[in-house]
Amino acid sequence: MTPEDWVAQKEVYGAYIGALQQAGVFVDTDWLQGVETATTLSAASGSVKVQDGPFAETKETLGEFFVIDVPDLDAAIEWAGKCPAAQFGKVEIRASAMDSV
């Protein structure tokens, strides 16, 4: 991305974040570094094993995330549909598991 692209992207996302905040559902967001910089670790074998790279080689990677606080899936779908990333990529919705305990 060129610096101009970044500025444009930030504006688009800024508007989205503003809308989330105004609705009182915004919790957190971040852009992530590219998947080629990922480090994966697992302690499943008894000791912590650290590995270079993502946990699965896929074409699509997680580039950013939003944490929002909404009552149900329909509300989440509504907000996810407004996310700028939905225009060119995919948005995956995952519920917090902490809430269901």
Binding site: D72, L73, A75, A76
Partner: protein
Amino acid sequence: MNNAVRAAENVARASYGRLLAILASRSSDIASAEDALSEAFSKALTLWPRDGVPDNPDAWLVRVARNRLIDGQRRNAKLAPEDDMPELIAEPETIVPDKRLHLMLVCAHPAIDPKMHTPLMLQCVMGLDAEQIGQAFLVPKATMAQRLVRAKTKIKANAVPFAIPANDKLSPRLEAVMEAIYGAYSVDWLETGDDLGKEALFLGDVLSAQLPNNAEALGLAALLGFAAARRDARIVDGEFVPLDAQNPALWNEPLIRGAQAMLRRASALGQIGRFQLEAAIQAIHARRIDNELMDWRGATQLYAGLCQLYPTLGAQIGYAVALSHLHGPDAGIAVLDALPKTQVAGLQSYHATRAHFLAEQGELNDAAKCYETALALTFQPALRVFLQEKQSAIVAQL
């Protein structure tokens, strides 16, 4: 059988989906609601014969099941029994509202695999078990059970809401609900031998009762009524009987009259749609119950409309048949020829229809071959008998 036991069973059959919808609507936790409801039913079977049937059996069951759910939630939240959870206190309910439409919308939610919409509805709204559903869909019981559990887990984890979406969002959601009900009807009874016509009719009636001003919901209910009415006429002495050869005396007249009335209500609303067109085609066939001749011109027009609005292969084959009654087998074959070859190659009804047209044209060799292809794709015994007879008649003329 004891009266109280019978009362419990009648309530179970009539109210299952209604009660489940109420119990699951707050938490979106269908599995827990199912467990609580089944415990309430078994309590009823013990207590009602001893203490008498309560004045409002539904409300009694909801109260018992809800207390059970609260106990479960208390245990999960590790609260002491004396701690109050005010929002969960079971209110004595006198009228149990019907939230089955909410439940149907959840079962056919876009976040749920469309293949699971119909099975979920059959289980949640009607209380069918995984074995019965698996049989209809030709899937082993354990596989079906696993898929149902997975879908319910997703509904709970994502808090899929038991809500009626706002107007602009409602119509695609309702379409999915109707598609799922239609799916129960169109589970190929010729393959499974165990059709879900009764269940589909029940679901269609629930939907149309909840949406009395939705023309397509009424149209769907009418369509399912016509189909169910012919149940006893479609196989006679072990042989399949096509619709236009069926004996109207074997049709269920009250069901047909109900479907006719339903379709009239639908068309009075002035919003044409796919299900109303399909029901209207059925209605034309059904007129034979009043000794009227089959109106193939009307049927052809309706099929043409259906093919424009919703061009399924089934609709186009139906159009070919209707058209051939007006203009002969050449016209029918021309319609079939225009269908995509790859899609019809494995379709029994396509080959059987084509064989019939070829025979009418006098192309007996081709007709015999075509019946052979149709037979190779047919497993239902009654339909095999029918096709075999047709084929033997042609081979005898060769």
